[in-house]
């Protein structure tokens, strides 16, 4: 029940509020103006073209964005509405969320959504990298917003020690010390970081998907983001566990399970044998 309400609240909030998410403080005003302009433009376009006219040949869109729009109109329009303005009760507006958000949601398979629930789950992506880029380009050109830098390796020269410190202060409370994720209120959760790529982590920090707070470039500079990504990818994921099997890095709960399932069970078997008559 609670989670239902939350989602509705969340979606409404997104509907109303998403545009603001793109703003970086110092360009806030400008952004707002452009946003309102974009909204009016989009709204105007909608009223003009709604009865059935196709907006495919929108002259403002670049080639990639036009491709993206074609994809959007097939797979996303049901929930996010024509021109990504959102549909009440189904999906939020995507105006101003930026390419970063699209990239995160689509490349991690969270979008398109399989079903409405407290939170989208990671799935095998539906779109190829190329298609994802096109979708992102389309949304970017519709309303602007944060963009992930070019390249697949976003941790160049990242300092794992600095990254570790930033990770512990900003990330570990939700994603846990080993990056395995954790529970949030009412069925929501912070996902595991293990399947995430550099770009996805970067995009998530920039765009604050779902309930994750936004860590804009003003708050964590790009080089600090590189540090964090380096810590996650190199120390948490790549470094070998020096102490044997890590029991899933769930902390003391699996350790407690292990002492009973392995230690006590083994020793009870041993004592059965020792005291046994045969």
């Amino acid at each position: 029940m609670t989670s239902d309400n939350d989602r509705r609240r969340g979606l409404l909030a997104r509907l109303r509020e998403r545009p603001a998410a793109r703003s970086r403080g110092r360009r806030r005003l400008g952004a707002a103006v452009r946003l309102i302009a974009a909204l009016m433009l989009a709204g105007g376009a909608y009223t003009v073209f709604a009865p059935g006219a196709q907006a495919q040949d929108n002259p403002q869109l670049t080639g990639a964005a036009a491709e993206g729009k074609a994809l959007f109109d097939v797979s996303c329009v049901t929930c996010h509405g024509r021109n990504a303005q959102g549909v009440e009760g189904r999906g939020p507006s995507l105006i101003g969320v930026g390419a970063a958000s699209v990239e995160f949601q689509v490349s991690s398979g969270r979008m398109p959504l399989a079903r409405q629930e407290a939170q989208a789950h990671r799935k095998p992506p539906v779109f190829t990298d190329e298609q994802t880029r096109q979708l992102a380009q389309y949304i970017q050109e519709l309303g602007g917003g944060p963009v992930v830098p070019e390249g697949d390796d976003l941790r160049e020269d990242g300092n794992v020690a600095a990254g570790g410190e930033l990770f512990r202060i900003n990330c570990s409370q939700c994603h846990a010390f080993g990056g395995g994720g954790g529970a949030l209120s009412s069925g929501k959760f912070a996902p595991s970081l293990h399947p995430a790529t550099d770009r996805q982590i970067y995009a998530a920090m920039l765009s604050g998907p779902q309930n994750m707070p936004v860590f804009g470039d003003n708050q964590l500079r790009p080089e600090q983001k590189a540090d964090i990504i380096a810590y996650i990818q190199e120390t948490l994921k790549h470094d070998q566990d020096p102490g044997g099997f890590n029991l899933g890095r769930y902390g003391p709960s699996t350790e407690g399970l292990a002492i009973f399932l392995v230690g006590i069970v083994a020793l009870v078997f041993a004592s059965l044998w020792i005291a046994g008559k045969s």
Partner: protein
Amino acid sequence: MSPHTEHQASQGREPLDVNDPRLTRFDIVREGAHRDDIEIVHYEPQVLPGTKAERRLTRVVAGFFLITGLAATAFLAIYIWWPWQYEPGRGGDKFYTPLLGLTLGVALLAVGFGILTWGKKLLPKEVSIQDRHEGQVDKESRTITGQTMLYMADELGVKRRPLLGISLLAGLAPVAAVAAAPLVGGLISQPHKNNQMFTTGFAMPEGGQRIRLVREDGRPIRPADISTGGQLTVFPGIDHGVSNKHADSPTLLIHLRDSDAQESRRANERIGHGDYMWGNYAAFSKICTHAGCPASLFEQQTNRLLCPCHQSQFLITDNARPIFGPASRRLPQLPIEVDSEGFFVAKSDYTETVGPDFWERP
């Protein structure tokens, strides 16, 4: 050796003369057991000397001990020669500790099972019965001891000379206190020294300036540093502000969305905290009012703050009121504004007590 399961005459039988040269060693053992009220009723070798079974079991036990030797040698070799140090880009060696554990474990298990097999399979099975003498407390002895103690009490004459007893007690009581005094006196520490339980690092020094909010690296914070829907852990900009010396000061600075900020402001006004926010920014203590963990799992869409230790949930837009879990008190809010240079400052210290509850918290 043949099984010693002959019938025994037990109680009331004459003790054997253990120096009798005709007795076997087992006879003497059994005589010893008798003297401890033990009847060895069944004593039967499991394997007969010189049989195939004996040779087989001997080989098994010896095999276990040899495995121990091998595993222990392997342990030493790995301990000395295996590369074990942490290497950047690779981590500590994945196999060093597991191999040490494995070889040590195998060595110990093998010696254990060797000994167990030896004891369990090669030694004769036995059933002995020992008397407990339960309920056969020596009544005479009880009487003698009781009377002796009463006699001692009589001799001391505490009953006749009560002053002795009273004065002894009166004398010893302070001695006990003397033993406890240095410990208690040394440990005891006034909890309200400098009003420390009610102040944090944001308290303005006498006639001083308002304390700036700084990041973990000490840099002050401009409003533009936090995106909408973002949050930042901030500290008092004082000496050791970012350290465990001020464990009660860490604060969460949150940039709310417009509508949430309005809701938040209205909630603030309801409890007379109308001017605690600055713009869409609100700052709440990061230290949970329940058990003191950092309540820092901020959900930017539902505006809930979750504490990971006991799952208390606080609604930021309603003055961080606890809405779920064991916390009973809202997170204190830090009144903030922006100074002339454009950095966040605390208008004053927290106006409510920060951190877990205690008896004299008003």
